[in-house]
Structure formats: C-alpha cells, structure tokens
C-alpha cells in the first residue's frame, strides 16, 4: 500500500533520514519505534508532505507522492495525526471534526461519517459544542483521531498518540487504534512506548539515528536482545 524507497530528508541543514526504505501492506498495523530524535516524526512529515525529501521516493497505491503538498496527500487517503493531536483550539469539537472532512470527497459524506465517529467516541458527542481548548489531554487525542477518520482515510499515520496520557487512557487509545485495523484501515504508528507499540502492531521497524536498523514481525522483535536491552530495559 505504502512503499518508501531510499528516502533521505534534511531537517534544516541536518540530515535526519538516511536511505530509509520500508513497506506497509493493506490492513496491517506497522509500528516505527526508536528513541527521541531518531527521525521518526521527520519520516511521517515526509510522507504527509510537510517536508520534502532530498532524495528517494514515496509511493502510495502505486502513485508517487513525494513532493506533493499536504492537502494533495490527504485527498489520496492518507491522514496524519500529528504529535499532540494539534486540534484547532478555538474551534468547537464539531467544527474540528468537520475540518477533518475538508477534502471534497469526504465533505460529501460528512454527516454519515460524523455519526460513525460519534458512535466510536460518545464523549465527543457530549462535548460537541465545546471549544477544543477546554478538553482534557485524552479527549483532545480522541478528537484528533476522530478528526483524522472524518477524511475517510485508507491509511492513518499516528505520531506518538500515547504521549503525555495517563496509563488507562493509553490503553484506550491503543484499543481504538487496533479497532481501526478491523475496519480495514491501515495504520502506521510511531511510538516511544515501544512495548505497547510492539504488542498491538503486526510488524515493526526500528529507527536509530535516521537509519532503519531492524525490522520484522513484532513477536520476533520482542524476543531480540537488542530491542530488549535498548528499548524494554530488560
């Protein structure tokens, strides 16, 4: 579904990604784990068009998408939930969700999608008319996920969805992400919470200093000495 080939991206003058290649198949959850500053967010931002790669390519459903602006990437069916959710603070919950349905195709179906999102997150319906800045951290993250679903995506990119949330909420967010796969939505998940990510994902890549250093099914990675030492503290 998504294929990345030899991607190199600079963040300012610093090269953040070095020949990154990876592949995501339909209806799987793929995790990208790594420590702070490894280049995970840079990779997501390159996929969604916020950054342009210096070299290499990104293909989505066979179409080359590197170099496209973010609004064109969403229209193809890739929705990006940025770190911290980045909901629009001065808009209501409902308006935030409607913004998610901004691409023309999604706009046509926004009423129907809104019902589905409210069914998934009854809390958002209760707070429909509240400004997003009055929500708690967990509610904001749910709003960000709901907003991403409003574009009726084929692929969701999540940047640290558990960051800053209480353990109970983290479990809920991860359960929701797992649920997306059952709806046929493919997920690419970036996490610092390596254990959790490897527990729900099908496959994972490990990114270190801008390079992919390991990849494989999660069960395998959980057994590997390197992952256990460097990321699980065992």
């Amino acid at each position: 579904m998504l294929e990345i080939r030899d991607l190199c991206t600079f963040y300012g003058k610093v090269q953040a990604l070095w020949n990154v290649s990876l592949q995501i198949n339909e209806a799987e959850i793929v995790a990208l784990v790594g420590s702070n500053g490894a280049g995970k967010t840079t990779l997501l931002n390159t996929i969604s068009g916020l950054l342009r790669p210096a070299s290499g390519h990104v293909f989505f459903l066979g179409q080359q998408i590197d170099g496209l602006p973010p609004h064109a990437v969403v229209e193809l069916g890739i929705s990006h939930v940025p770190e911290g959710g980045r909901v629009f603070p001065e808009m209501t919950v409902r308006e935030n969700l409607e913004m998610g349905a901004y691409p023309y195709q999604a706009w046509q179906h926004r009423g129907e999608t809104l019902e589905q999102v409210y069914q998934m997150f009854p809390r958002l319906k209760e707070r429909e008319k509240q400004l997003a800045r009055t929500l708690s951290g967990g509610e904001r993250q749910m709003l960000a996920i709901g907003r991403c679903l409003m574009s009726r995506p084929k692929l969701c990119l999540f940047d640290e969805p558990s960051y800053g949330l209480a353990p109970l909420l983290v479990a809920e967010i991860f359960r929701i992400i797992q649920g997306l796969r059952d709806q046929g939505i493919t997920v690419f998940l970036i996490e610092q919470n390596v254990r959790r990510a490897l527990e729900i994902a099908d496959r994972a890549y490990v990114l270190e200093n801008g390079r992919i250093c390991m990849e494989g099914p999660c069960a395998e990675l959980l057994e590997s000495d390197h992952v256990r030492k460097a990321y699980l503290g065992l």
Binding site: L50, H80, R86, P89, Y102
Partner: protein, 288 residues
C-alpha cells in the same frame, strides 16, 4: 439626552467604516500574517475608482461596489500569490516572514500611492450623492452617511457568517490557528492565504467606496485609515473577526465623543487608547 443619542449615532456611522477596514486588516494580519501597512492604499483605490466612475461615467456609487470589490480582491490575491507567497517560502521562520512581509507592504504602499498620484494627481476629490438630510432622533444626518452604516453592517454580518458557517470560512479559521495542521486536513494553505489577503483588500476597497460617499478622497488618505484599522484590530483582539467588528464600533463611538469635545483630539485619543490597551490588555476585547 438627545445630544448624547446624536453622538452615539454619529459614532455608529463612523464605526461601521472602521469595522469594515479593521475586518480586512484582521484577515491579512491575523490569518495571512502580513501586517499590511498598505491596507489604506486599497481604501484609497476604492474611493478614487468610485469617484472616477461617478464623475466621468455617471456610474451610481453604490453600483461601483460591484466593480471596486472584485477589482481590489483580484489585486490583493495577485499580490499575495506573487510577492508574499515567495516571501513565505524564502523565510525560514514565521517571525522572519512577519518582518519581511511588513517591509514588503511598506514598499507596496509607496508603489500604489505613486501610481495613483500619476493617475489621479494630488487634488482632493469629492462628489455629492444622496446628500439628503434625514431627521433621526432629533438630529439631522445625511442619507449617504446612513447608507454607509447600512452597507457596513450588512457586509460585516455577511462576512462574519461566511467565516463562521461555510467550509471555506472554517478553513480560514483553521489556517489562522494552526496552518500546518490545516494543511494536513486537506486545506490548500497557499490558496487560503491568498484568498484572505484578497478578501482583506476587497473589504478595504469597499470601505473606500463607502468613504467616498461621505468624505472627500485623495491619494494620500490611506495611511490614516491603516493606523485606525491597526488600532481597531488590536482593540478587538488579533485575528478575531467579531472582535474587529465590535472594536470598530467601539472606536467609532469613542471618536464621536471626543470629536464632540474637540475635533482635533480624536486621533490623539485613538493613539492614547492604543498605548493604554497595549499596556493593560494587549490581547484585546475578544482575545484570550
């Protein structure tokens, strides 16, 4: 009591114009992040175009709205697409863009003003249209001035509804709050910013047409209105369209009260309010 009411009505008449020009600047500064010092030049263009159309071709000033609005919109849109978009891509941060774009708008001010003075010359231009006295609450106002208020309110409310309710309006608000996140939602940021700049210019052009109904217009009139617009935008809260609308009327009434004491004091009063506001509540009426 009657005189007080008169002052308030006069203030509302002035405030309607202030509200329009401030809403325009609010879009350009609050969303497109361009502190557009040349805002008043679009007002001047609107005024002088209306004057030319009326005196040379006999076009009804109210009809010239249909010409001034689209014309200034197009001019603003094109300027953003060429000048400011390029600055946006070449500036490494938002702060750098804000200072660069302000300098660029200074040069726009001089370019537009000089071209206009070649076209229209330095004379003060005025015409008489609908100067029919209307008796309102015991005082007499010109029908043209009342018309101005009506137009300002209708345009202001329509504009507010556009921003609050429509898909494009929501995109504009989203772009003002978080441009990168708006892009991720599917908003074409370049287009929305150019649209905001164009709409801001169109509001200025429309205000210019309304101003020409009541006051004489000339090539150098712009800067005073730019300053007033800036004060109203800060008064109402940066980037808040309702804030600019309310702020415009508030400043109009204050101006009217001060003018009643001594006409030469009104600008001084505006600056005083501006300074006090920055010291006491820099976020403005509707700001957080």
């Amino acid at each position: 009591m009657v005189t007080f009411l008169n002052i308030v009505i006069a203030g509302l008449l002035l405030g309607g114009l202030y509200a329009l020009i401030a809403m325009g600047l609010s879009l350009q500064y609050g969303v497109a992040r361009v502190l557009n010092v040349s805002h008043g030049e679009f007002i001047m263009l609107g005024g002088l175009i209306t004057w030319t159309l009326y005196t040379a071709f006999g076009v009804n000033p109210l009809l010239s709205l249909a010409i001034c609005g689209p014309l200034t919109f197009l001019l603003g849109f094109i300027i953003h697409r060429t000048v400011f978009k390029r600055l946006l891509t070449s500036s490494e941060s938002r702060g750098v863009f804000e200072s660069n774009s302000m300098l660029a708008s200074f040069s726009l001010l001089f370019i537009i003003q000089n071209i206009a003075s070649i076209a229209w010359g330095p004379e003060i231009r005025g015409y008489s249209y609908l100067r029919v006295p209307v008796n309102l609450a015991g005082a007499v106002f010109g029908a043209n001035r009342l018309m101005t208020l009506g137009f300002a309110v209708v345009i202001g409310v329509a504009f507010y509804l556009f921003i609050a309710r429509t898909r494009t309006g929501k995109a504009i608000r989203a772009a003002a709050q978080d441009p990168a996140a708006a892009g991720l939602m599917g908003v074409n940021i370049d287009r929305v910013l150019a649209l905001c700049f164009g709409l801001g210019a169109a509001l200025a052009g429309t205000a210019g047409m309304l101003i020409s109904l009541c006051y004489p217009v000339h090539v150098a009139m712009g800067l005073e209105y730019t300053v007033i617009a800036l004060i109203v935008v800060v008064l109402g809260g940066l980037g808040s369209i309702p804030g600019s609308f309310i702020g415009g009327f508030a400043l109009g009434i204050i101006g009217s009260v001060v003018t009643n004491i001594d006409p030469s004091l009104s600008l001084i009063a505006y600056y005083l309010i501006f300074v006090l506001l920055l010291l006491v509540k820099p976020t403005g009426i509707m700001g957080r």
